[in-house]
Amino acid sequence: MPEIDENRPLPLKEVEQLVELVRESGVGEIRVRQGETEISVRARPEVPTTSFGDQVASATQGIPDVVESEPSPETDGLHAVRSPVVGTFYRAPAPGEDTYVEVGDTVSAGQTLCIVEAMKLMNEIVADVSGEVVEVLAENAGGVEYDQPLFYLRPDEQ
């Protein structure tokens, strides 16, 4: 328990100095504590904004995967080809063979881009638009989830 001296006067001079500091600096709040003395000066509050995602992230300590890094949005007119199944991603038909596509290749709709293997079944994933392969988003022989983006294509101008 803190020890208390109730006879000391309130530090009004210091308060005035802090008020001045808040006003001049533009900061939101200053708090000072020294022993049993505590001073807090707050600027007029701004309008608060809240988003649930952020809140949970800061709220649940120790949960490693709470902050999902969402796949980057399809900005700049890019088109994502996503995995229709859970499985293992392969860029080539078989080990040692050439990859189906590389970054910079131009592909046409219906062309095979990769294989996702699930339960010994080889699922060929095809381009659903024609265009240029801009980025390969999954690692060869790595696992992919349902709906996970595998490639970014830049669709042809139509």
């Binding site: 949960i63 199944v85 499985g87």
Partner: protein, 459 residues
Amino acid sequence: MIGKVLVANRGEIALRIIRACRELGVRSVAVYSTADRDSLHHELADESVCIGPPPAASSYLNVPAIISAAELTGADAVHPGYGFLAENARFAEICERVGLTFVGPSSRTIARMGDKAEAREAAAEAGVPVTPGSDGSCESVDVVKRVGAEIGYPLVIKASAGGGGKGMRVVETEAEVDAAYLGASREAGANFGDGSVYVEKYLENLRHVEVQVLADSYGETVTFPERDCSVQRRYQKLIEESPAPGLPVDVREGLMAASADLVGSLGYEGAGTVEFVYADGKFYFIEMNTRLQVEHPVTEMISGVDIVAEQLKVVSGERLEVPEDARSPDGHAIEFRINAEDPLRNFLPQAGLVEVYNPPGGPGVRVDSHLYAGYRVPPYYDSLLAKLIVHARDRGSSIRRGLRALDEFAVSGMETTLPLHLAVLEDEEFRRGGVTTRFLADRELESEGGLLRLNRTSV
């Protein structure tokens, strides 16, 4: 101990399993549909894999996706929870084949108990009383009539592969048998792909009681004091309690012994529930559920045993750790299922944004729920939002604690069964204890000053 468990489920039961894993130091893998991206089971598991689009058939029932997710994450066991794939013998068999430990009994046992006619036979062979009726399935109308002549009417025709009231017909006289047989058989075929039916004496004024069992691979079987699940609506349980109010001790001992006999004769491993009907001092086997049940916390509260942890120990080849005193009830527990349903509009399912969520706290209160304020209840899955379980020294204190906790339970954004539960707890017959499965059917809900009340409609 197994090292990593894939939880092939969602909602509160997925959380329940993830919690047990974490407490045992076992890693957990959540699987989720795209409708469950913001779900707590996905947030709280050690790893998670998106397995498909919202419809259950493409995600939580999607066997290849689930097996692939287990392989990708290196899980060595799969816990199916309840519902979805929990009693799917084919899924259990596939797990066995690919070397994944299925947290449950063998696929053979699941298949055997899944056929209700066969389960009746297994129970009868083990010396467990079954409702008078046919030996196994009835191949023709004539067999039904022969049984009817023997044991008397009314009878009930049931689907062998069934459950939940589908393919079921009550027959009052022999004249009704032909039409009922045809109807039940057709409905069973349409629902389960198997039109075979069996027949039982139709018992009225009965109570639904059931016995939780746990068995390990060393031949040890534990049976727990019975749960009473008679407060049902259309075969869906709403309130479960343990022990059953007013049940004579010798009946309890009989139920526990009969369940142990059946489980022993099956060479059962893991958790399961043997279900009985009880009327006029006698009980009859109806079916066995070869999985964890929604209402398992009721037994956990009065026994102190963590049933999910014991499931995981059993599949790890460990021995059950159940103290002797867990076999007699410590106090009284009641579970309330808080569903997203509107009691005043024929239990219309609700979905949408949970605006406020503040569960009750304090002594003797347990809440199992995947909700949080800001969660959006998807329209694709079952309506269970939360289970509130209360525990106190006797049934009267449990009821008062239930009233207190239900009253505190704050959920807004949709209608729920919370006010229905309050109405049940105010019902005099429920308070006396020992109501039958007709309890809710015999009553009407009435709205009165913002509260609900049950009014008896038939005598």
